[in-house]
């Protein structure tokens, strides 16, 4: 989850600010006296995160953009040759997987936004009631978020297998010619993948909303009840708007998750045959023997540009809030 660590990125920048606040009652002289040591500390506190940012975020990003305009087999550096816009032309015109991938990413976003996120919210609201074993349910719903890719693959294989899978067994079609081929049929496998993704995403959203619901002042609900609001009104008019900060985080996470969507699809068939996704295309072209770094980088840059939209919106909102 590199994206979530990005969200906490303003905090190093906040460090010097708190320093200033501490010295605010004093005079300029005081600041100067402290500065010898503070400067070193400050340099470290600002410098190290900056270096880490540079090394892990900015340099790879700039290199990717650069490589997307070249042809390179990934071997010797001297093999890098300029390619102009050829890689982008390949992506937009020649690659048969690109436009389906864009559609699938959009479908992914819509599905997560319309089904998975509300489901997570519903789970959170239900578990926030004082029901018995609430903690156990929370754990159960959160487990998928913590599972490794390999395990997820095995679990869903057990559900979806054509001849021996649980789902076809329940439908009574296992082993018959009518059995639905959940992974192999390109009309249904995207939905199978989306259900698997929902299973994960809902747990994640649930935990975030549970934290949000705990943070809502109980007196607000009491006041609403006194004014004669029913449960539904209390929730939609009072509690939900009160969770505005969480809601924004959830929106951003849902968008990012739909762009990051990768693992489930990769587990099923490496993102081919009806399961194309941009992120899977990036990996296909960048990793392994079949790598063609220029084209892979072009896919990555396109994904980056798309991702920048929600990130920019999120950041501009955060910074606007800090002004008042």
């Amino acid at each position: 989850m590199s994206r979530t660590t990005d969200l906490s990125h303003p905090s190093p920048a906040g460090a010097p600010r708190s320093g200033r606040r501490r010295s605010a009652p004093g005079t300029n002289r005081k600041v100067r006296r402290l500065s010898t040591r503070d400067k070193v500390v400050l340099a470290f506190m600002v410098g190290i995160p900056t270096l880490i940012q540079l090394a892990f975020v900015w340099i790879p990003t700039v290199l990717s953009v650069f490589l997307s305009f070249t042809r390179w087999n990934g071997l010797a550096l001297s093999d890098i040759r300029a390619a102009g816009l050829a890689n982008y032309s390949y992506v937009f015109n020649d690659s048969p997987a690109f436009w389906p991938a864009v559609q699938h990413n959009i479908l992914w976003l819509v599905f997560l936004a319309v089904i998975a996120t509300p489901l997570g919210l519903l789970l959170a609201v239900l578990l926030d009631q004082k029901i018995r074993g609430s903690k156990i349910y929370q754990s159960i719903f959160f487990v998928p978020v913590m599972l490794s890719l390999a395990l997820i693959g095995i679990i869903w294989q057990l559900f979806y297998q054509k001849d021996n899978g649980l789902l076809n067994f329940l439908l009574g079609t296992a082993g018959t010619p009518q059995a639905v081929d959940w992974f192999g049929n390109s009309d249904v496998n995207i939905w199978a993948a989306l259900v698997a993704a929902t299973w994960r995403h809902a747990g994640y959203v649930m935990i975030l909303y549970l934290a949000g619901l705990k943070g809502v002042d109980a007196s607000l609900k009491e006041a609403a009840a006194l004014d004669g609001a029913n449960g539904r009104q209390t929730f939609f008019r009072i509690v939900f708007p009160a969770m505005a900060p969480i809601n924004i985080v959830i929106v951003v996470i849902t968008i990012i998750e739909s762009l990051r969507a990768f693992d489930v699809v990769w587990v099923i068939n490496k993102g081919t045959n009806g399961l194309e996704l941009i992120s899977a295309l990036v990996i296909t072209y960048l990793i392994g023997e079949g790598q063609s770094i220029g084209i892979g980088s072009a896919f990555a840059v396109i994904l980056l540009v798309i991702s920048l939209v929600p990130i920019t919106i999120y950041l501009s909102r955060t910074f606007r809030k800090e002004k008042f």
Binding site: N73, L77, A86, W266, N269, G288, E289, G290, S292
Partner: protein, 440 residues
């Protein structure tokens, strides 16, 4: 293609290391850039083998990580050490990782000798100068190999690079008892194959077992139809992209395939070759076009003894001359070329003793050197060996003969699309091929 290259859905554990791998690649890139002048100085003017010191040890990188091949290579290294007193340190890497990281591996600090494949997949790295030529080794072992083997071991510069260990033919596998029971006969022409398939379908069987969830098995069908229809040389030129994909010869391959498509398992896209093998073993399907490694799936000796094999029928030209028989063997890294012990090890792999040591543990493949022990061969093994021995030309498999990016990124989705609805866009194949081959 072998089970070693099984693109199983659970073998992607390298994903978690993306960033590390990237850094490693960058780091190694920087180091290798710095080391270039040094390397140039090293190789300057020394005759092959002249700088080789009398070494008493070597390192051996093996991508054969499954239990049986792993034990088999251990038997080889043990036999070599016993004979030569040269110790071998083996580094076994899970096969998918080994293949995916081969470029980084060869540019970093590779082992002296390592397992790899013949074909374009070997020539490509030879062309990049990442391998050591072993003409001196071939002077010793060359007599034991057929011309087809020698051709498959030669690099693009005409030097020898590869020592074949074993290979395995692709063909139709079937259960003898089922065929006797129903009175089926081995087809030798494409028309006979279609007639037989229709009969099997009428008998309620899936005539041709087929699986392409992993994407690569369908390449075998493409390779064979192309070779039978347009000839071996055209197939080689097409995979090397010396021929265009956008021509009627290629369209004809898919048109011919379309006649076969109704007889192939319609559920192929959701199945792995292991699923298909089970179905063949249960006599639910008539035959299965795959490599002879399919027999590894039949653990019941009774079923195994009931499996037989016939080569892909004739279509338009060259009869059944060409056989798809991927060769696995050993290569020497750039660094290994300076280690005489490593060269001795490769030479040992090219002797009957070396290959017997391997085959004793892993009998599912066919030894490649003349004089290797065939006394323990099952009738099926003998048939496979004969088919290869009688072949006029040997292809490796699409993903070994073609650019890996072409095979993985273009052919797999294209063939899966073709299996789905019988449509193929050769113009687009050519456009993609042009972009990918130009990037190399």
């Amino acid at each position: 293609m072998s089970p070693n290259e099984d693109r199983s859905p659970l073998s992607f554990n390298h994903i978690g290391m993306d960033r590390r791998t990237l850094l490693k690649t960058l780091g190694i890139g920087a180091v290798s850039a710095a080391a270039l002048p040094m390397l140039a100085a090293c190789t300057g003017g020394t005759a092959p083998g002249a700088s080789a010191s009398a070494s008493t040890s070597l390192t051996f990188g093996s991508g054969s990580s499954d239990d049986v091949p792993k034990a088999a290579y251990k038997a080889v290294t043990d036999a070599f050490t016993a004979q030569s007193k040269i110790t071998v340190t083996t580094n076994v890497v899970p096969h998918n990782d080994f293949q995916n990281k081969i470029a980084t591996y060869l540019q970093g600090s590779p082992d002296d000798a390592f397992t790899w494949f013949a074909g374009y997949r070997m020539q490509y790295y030879a062309k990049q100068g990442l391998l050591s030529p072993i003409d001196d080794v071939w002077e010793k072992i060359g007599g034991g190999y057929s011309d087809a083997m020698k051709k498959a071991s030669t690099g693009p510069d005409g030097k020898m690079y590869f020592v074949p260990n074993y290979n395995y033919p692709w063909g139709f596998f079937y259960r003898k008892s089922l065929w006797t029971e129903k009175g089926y006969e081995v087809p030798t022409t494409f028309d006979a194959l279609k007639t037989l398939s229709a009969k099997m379908k009428a008998d309620g069987l899936i005539p041709i077992e087929f699986s392409d969830k992993d994407g690569w098995p369908a390449m075998g069908t493409f390779d064979y139809i192309n070779m039978r229809l347009n000839g071996y040389q055209f197939h080689m030129d097409l995979t090397a992209h010396k021929e265009s994909w956008d021509q009627t010869k290629v369209t004809a391959v898919f048109d011919t395939w379309k006649e076969l498509l109704p007889f192939q398992n319609p559920a192929a896209l959701g199945m792995t070759w292991q699923d298909s093998a089970i179905s063949l073993g249960q006599k639910k399907s008539g035959m299965f076009l795959l490599g002879s490694f399919v027999t590894q799936q039949f653990t019941d000796p009774a079923i195994l003894a009931d499996i037989d094999f016939f080569p892909f029928p004739e279509i338009a030209m060259e009869g059944q001359d060409a056989v798809e028989a991927p060769i696995d063997g050993l290569l020497l890294s750039k660094k290994g070329g300076k280690n005489q012990g490593a060269k001795d090890f490769l030479a040992f792999m090219g002797t009957p003793e070396g290959q017997d040591a391997y085959a004793k543990v892993d009998p599912s493949n066919i030894a490649t050197v003349k004089g290797a022990d065939t006394s323990s061969f099952s009738p099926l093994n003998k048939k496979c060996a004969e088919t290869i021995a009688n072949a006029k030309s040997i292809s490796q498999f699409f993903d070994r003969d073609a650019l890996p990016a072409m095979a993985t990124n273009v052919m797999i989705p294209a063939l899966q699309g073709f299996i789905k609805d019988g449509s193929i866009d050769v113009k687009n194949l050519e456009a993609q091929a042009k972009a990918l081959y130009a990037a190399q």
